[in-house]
């Protein structure tokens, strides 16, 4: 019952530098966009690099249906993401989308969206979806330092935003899991995306409070469409595929 996947060349309409590590790509389709849900991703073809062979999976950061535009928030970590960072308006980017199983909107009213680093990417669409469903999203973002911070006004328009940095250069000093907002009982559930140790810590707090928790995983992938079985994720229900059964999983299911 899923939306038909497409392979398409999208036009780069803007590439905005957000800080020394992150950039935001805005891409336009000349057709109307398929339905894109928070937590879903695209497989991007990276051309003109020496070593990049496979596509690169990147989550949807924002979607503008009226303009047929999608936004991606990307951190430069290697050759592929560095090349994507060099794309200029007017170039085309080939992508396969929309892929994967999205975050679920569940019972309850107030939810904490916890991310580490570029794990912030899927949280904007999710926050918006929660708001549309009449719920209250609260954001808690962990960054290494001020250097990873950028203008968060799009999040602030949706709900309260809390920040931690490892060095205390902005927000509260420390890890997201030690932030005071995590130690309140006001949330009906957590959504999390970021480094695995962080997501595990968030998941165990959820378990101790017996509340809902979903995590978006970043397993390495070859095909992104369920054909190669390389993105395996062990779960209580056996091996699952991160690209089709995930990338979003209920943390109760995960054996990680």
């Amino acid at each position: 019952m899923s939306v038909k996947k497409k392979i398409e060349n999208l036009l780069v309409t803007a590439n905005r530098r957000l800080n020394s590590e992150y950039f935001e790509l805005i891409l336009q389709s000349n057709e109307s966009l398929p339905g894109i849900l928070p937590g879903q991703f695209a497989e991007l073809k990276v051309d003109h690099t020496e070593h990049t062979f496979l596509r690169r999976p990147i989550s949807f950061y924002d979607v503008n249906t009226d303009k047929s535009e999608v936004h991606l928030l990307i951190q430069e970590v290697g050759e592929g993401t560095r090349r994507l960072g060099q794309l200029e308006a007017g170039e085309f980017l080939n992508m396969i989308y929309p892929l994967g199983h999205s975050f679920t909107i569940t019972e309850g009213t107030t939810f904490l969206l916890v991310s580490g680093g570029v794990g912030i990417a899927p949280m904007l669409l999710l926050g918006r979806k929660l708001k549309e469903a009449g719920k209250t999203p609260v954001f808690l973002f962990g960054f290494r330092s001020e250097k990873q911070w950028f203008d968060l006004s799009r999040f602030e328009a949706l709900g309260e935003v809390f920040i931690t940095t490892e060095d205390g250069s902005i927000g509260e000093k420390g890890l997201v899991t030690s932030h005071r907002v995590m130690n309140t009982g006001r949330f009906d559930g957590y959504y999390t995306c970021g480094p695995v140790p962080m997501m595990k810590a968030v998941s165990s707090i959820a378990a101790s409070r017996d509340i809902f928790c979903e995590a978006s995983l970043e397993n390495t992938m070859a095909c992104g469409i369920g054909a190669c079985l390389t993105c395996a994720q062990p779960t209580v229900h056996g091996m699952k595929m991160a690209c089709t059964d995930g990338p979003v999983f209920n943390t109760k299911e995960l054996l990680w």
């Binding site: 062979f53 390495t220 054909a227 190669c228 390389t230 395996a232 091996m239």
Partner: protein, 315 residues
């Protein structure tokens, strides 16, 4: 109009462009992107006797012009295949060939026997070359006596077209090609992945949980091409060429080396429409070179004067 039809054993394929086992799921993963009935055939993911969880994660490493995988035959077993997957495959106007794998001779025989009863599956590809399982798999494909035994045993219970998939992890391809032919194979396919390794220098750890895995993609193409050429000159049954094929030119090179048909594997991950593009490119090549039938390309290679290793085959 060019004639694209090819014959492999009793099997008639509408064209020589097929997709490789483990790289195209059960076909349905690709229907959003292309019409899979345009393919000569789809080779399914491995089918084994029992449900297999496969290997632990991580199972994939990107390498220069290729990738390593250590999936390890993950599938739900032959009974599940017959009950749940086969009925879905029957809905497509596509030839499906089951890739049969096992850890023991009995397991190969059991799976092949059960699939023999399925009227909609006209052929099997016996995978005696998987580098990603501890027991069996490649053991059968790298020892001539075991290879002969398993092919003979399966031949007894399987009367449709039997294709044997050879391992590249051997010293002599001609020896194994001849062994398969002698034991009753209708065709051979090669290559499966090359046993390989990737290391993360920063972490000082192997990338794959299984430490070693199988290399595929353009990186293996020249090796595969040489092996297909050797196999073609060693046997008189059809050879199916596999290994790094990513465009029509690659496919044509394999046909010239002696392949009757080709399989597209890893390239599907980068471009899910690549197999139909290869088909189009092949037709264009045939028109440009005035070939009326695709079989005229197979082995049609002009050798340097005085080259004596293989005598040219006559058509």
């Amino acid at each position: 109009m060019v004639d694209m039809q090819v014959n492999i054993g009793k099997l008639v394929l509408k064209n020589p462009v097929t997709t490789a086992s483990g790289c195209f799921g059960y076909g349905s993963e690709y229907t959003d992107f292309m019409d899979i009935s345009r393919l000569g055939a789809v080779f399914t993911k491995a089918v084994t006797g029992e449900n297999r969880e496969g290997n632990p994660a991580p199972r994939m490493a990107e390498t220069p012009s290729g990738m390593l995988n250590s999936v390890g035959l993950q599938n739900k077993g032959v009974d599940y295949f017959i009950e749940h997957i086969y009925p879905v495959l029957r809905q497509y106007d596509t030839v499906f060939i089951a890739n049969v794998s096992g850890s023991t001779l009995d397991e190969y025989v059991e799976v092949a026997g059960k699939i023999n009863d399925l009227s909609g599956i006209p052929a099997i590809e016996l995978n005696i070359s998987c580098p990603n399982v501890k027991k069996g798999g490649m053991v059968f494909g790298t020892n001539r006596q075991s290879a002969a035994e398993v092919v003979k045993a399966v031949r007894k219970v399987y009367d449709k077209t039997l294709i044997i998939k050879l391992s590249p992890n051997v010293a002599s391809i001609p020896d194994f090609a001849k062994t398969a032919e002698g034991a009753g194979a209708d065709a051979i396919s090669l290559i499966n992945t090359l046993l390989a390794m990737a290391i993360d220098a920063e972490k000082r750890k192997p990338v794959l949980a299984t430490v070693t895995g199988g290399l595929s993609g353009p990186a293996v193409k020249p090796v595969a091409l040489r092996m297909v050429w050797e196999a073609y000159h060693s046997v008189s049954i059809p050879v199916i060429g596999i290994g790094g094929i990513s465009n029509a030119t690659d496919a044509i090179e394999f046909l010239l080396a002696g392949a009757t048909a080709i399989q597209v594997g890893t390239a599907n991950f980068i471009d899910p429409q690549v197999s139909v593009k290869i088909l189009e490119g092949l037709k264009e090549y045939m028109e440009r070179h005035h070939f009326s039938s695709v079989s005229q390309i197979t082995g049609n290679l002009e050798m340097p004067e005085g080259f004596e290793r293989f005598r040219p085959k006559t058509f």
